[in-house]
């Protein structure tokens, strides 16, 4: 039997009795990063990277049982050597390498290979079996250099500020928000964060990440004026659902932008009715996916999370790899 199997509960290493990013409640769960589709509640024990602990507790509760590891550090479970490597996706994200009797697997979780200056950069790890995501697994996805995107964001902000209009930028509270915060030009105005993002910021700062100065708007936007912050020159970072609450209403008129890889395609640009779409993703684009897969030297590639059919077929046809779709295995297992 293979060292790692694809079960209805998620990736499973029977020899170590360990699940990776399980979908349902299990006893031992190794979590590659704290995003909600990877770190789910209810596990008896969690194992994750040291810099994921705070944010995991923030999201899943302070009382979870969690053990942590640094990158490059190994633990053994029933003869299986387990090591974490940087995935470059979001702060605290890791790839997992499992070695048993010479068989090497790497489950990369979500990743990007181009460094963002905030999260430790992705490291290619040699293995026999590589599990890769494929969120942006189509050749139409090719990211521009992040600095050009941040230049665009800062220019948009500056333009709004000079017109006396607040700038509202949508971003998820873990990863995207902090990556943006790090590169904002504070000479334009104040950087303000919604409560949900503020909470993540604090957890990540305590884990040692630095992304510059920001103002906490947990107490509401109205309170900013009292604190001497001019909202019309501010850039306000908030999660999408804040737009539908009364939280946003003190702003009046504002310019709205979204920051996501999906913004590359204009039909998604229209989805949220935003004024501007900035193409910025914490996932690998097509060239990065290919680069990552080939760098591992793996003969077996298991593709999940997105355009898995497309990427696996391409790897089979163009690179003669044994590539398959993980979810297929999981479904077959369910059928048994």
């Amino acid at each position: 039997m293979a060292l790692v199997t694809f079960t209805p509960l998620g990736f499973y290493c029977a020899q170590a009795d360990l699940y990776i990013d399980p979908l349902r409640k299990v006893s031992k769960a190794l979590v590659t990063h704290a995003h909600s589709d990877h770190a789910r509640p209810g596990m008896q024990h969690y194992l994750c990277h040291t810099q994921s602990v705070n944010i995991l507790k923030l999201r899943l509760g302070q009382r979870i049982s969690v053990q942590s590891m640094a990158y490059g550090e190994s633990v053994w479970m029933n003869g299986v050597e387990i090591t974490l490597f940087p995935a470059g996706h979001v702060p605290g994200s890791a790839q997992v390498r499992l070695i048993y009797k010479g068989e090497v697997w790497v489950i990369s979780g979500d990743y990007k290979t181009v460094g963002d200056g905030l999260t430790p950069a992705f490291e290619a790890v040699r293995c026999h079996h590589f599990v890769t995501e494929s969120t942006f697994g189509l050749p139409i996805f090719q990211w521009r250099d992040q600095q050009t995107v941040f230049d665009d964001i800062n220019a948009w902000w500056r333009e709004n500020a000079s017109a006396g209009k607040p700038s509202v930028l949508l971003g998820y509270s873990l990863g995207k928000a902090q990556r943006i915060l790090k590169y904002l030009d504070r000479s334009v105005g104040a950087v303000v964060c919604h409560g949900a993002i503020a909470a993540s910021n604090i957890a990540l700062q305590e884990s040692g990440f630095d992304f510059g100065e920001w103002k906490d708007a947990s107490g509401g936007l109205a309170s900013l004026q009292d604190r001497g912050i001019r909202t019309e020159e501010s850039l306000i970072v908030c999660p999408p659902n804040a737009l539908r609450s009364s939280w946003i209403s003190p702003l009046g008129r504002y310019s709205l932008a979204n920051c996501s890889g999906w913004m590359a395609v204009s039909k998604s640009g229209d989805w949220g009715g935003v004024d501007r779409g900035f193409v910025l993703s914490d996932h690998a684009d097509w060239p990065q996916l290919l680069e990552a897969v080939l760098a591992t030297g793996a003969e077996h590639v298991h593709v999940t999370h997105g355009f898995s059919e497309v990427l696996s077929r391409y790897l089979r046809e163009t690179h003669q790899l044994n590539a398959d779709v993980v979810e297929k295995g999981m479904l077959e297992m369910q059928g048994e």
Partner: protein
């Protein structure tokens, strides 16, 4: 229709200025067929036919897929480079034409490529200009007057996007003569980046509900138990003869899952049958083409 001068946007490609007539419309002196351009781009990028189909399916249009496939811009495009090609076009061989075209495209930003290809293929440029303002993607909202409505609609079908059941495209129906007519679509589920596509508080519960209530398979879609009603915000709504329901919406956002629907207050019901908004109400509400103040 917006002319070039009206949509005087900051990010308008400079090269466009060289091809404006007095009315602000673009004039393009040469034509290249879409198939030729496609052939050139696929050859350059080494993309196979099946892979291109996947790209086009996701991008939504041929133009967009081709523009994106060319990757990130190398920069430095000027009106002079274009002029150069226009002047020599008739004397060039096919491969010289191809080189010029691919050089231009690599240098341009994605939005510019879409525009250039649309102009070269001789398709009407009005839609493109009004939609993209010749620059970055911008909101539909600030480019044209649109109607927004809020309706109560019932969930009829779902289309699973991935095998893990983390994303669905939902099809909703409105009430019509003792039944429901499917007419509105929205995405739901995990966005793959740790968030949720609609950002509803109960989106995870709804996702589980759908997975537990999948019915028969009809091609790529699945029916679901017809019981759940949602408050939807539909933007960019207009009457349309080409749509079965008689209208179309550019974007649909799920505002609220009206759980325990029988208890919910339904302001827009059709008879006592249903708390679901009727199709008739929507059609009556929408401005008719003659009073929308459209100009040529």
């Amino acid at each position: 229709m917006k002319s070039m001068n009206q949509s005087d946007r900051l990010n308008r490609p400079v090269w466009c200025d060289a091809f404006l007539d007095e009315g602000g419309n673009l004039i393009f002196p040469i034509k290249v067929s879409v198939n030729t351009m496609k052939g050139w781009i696929l050859e350059r990028t080494g993309i196979s036919a099946w892979l291109f189909i996947e790209c086009q399916r996701f991008a939504g249009s041929l133009n967009e897929a081709l523009a994106l496939l060319m990757g990130t811009s190398t920069g430095g495009i000027t009106a002079m480079v274009l002029q150069h090609g226009f002047e020599r076009w008739d004397t060039w061989t096919d491969s010289e034409r191809k080189e010029w075209f691919l050089f231009l495209l690599s240098a341009m930003e994605v939005e510019e490529r879409r525009l250039l290809m649309s102009l070269l293929s001789g398709r009407s440029n009005a839609t493109l200009i009004s939609k993209y303002g010749l620059g970055k993607i911008s909101s539909v909202r600030d480019l044209k007057e649109t109607t927004s409505i809020t309706v109560n609609a019932i969930l009829l079908y779902v289309r699973p996007i991935d095998r893990m059941n983390t994303q669905y495209e939902l099809t909703f129906g409105l009430y019509k003569e003792e039944g429901y007519t499917s007419c509105l679509r929205a995405m739901l589920g995990e966005d793959g980046m740790g968030g949720w596509l609609q950002g509803l508080d109960d989106e995870p519960v709804l996702l589980d509900w759908i997975t537990d209530n999948l019915g028969e398979r009809i091609g790529p879609i699945r029916s679901v138990t017809v019981s759940e009603v949602f408050e939807l915000q539909c933007d960019g709504v207009e009457l349309s003869k080409r749509h079965k329901a008689g209208f179309k919406a550019e974007s649909v956002r799920v505002l609220k899952w009206l759980r325990n629907a029988e208890n919910a207050i339904a302001p827009l019901t059709a008879g006592n049958q249903s708390m679901v908004t009727s199709l008739e109400w929507v059609r009556d509400f929408l401005p008719k083409p003659q009073d929308s103040g459209q100009t040529g």
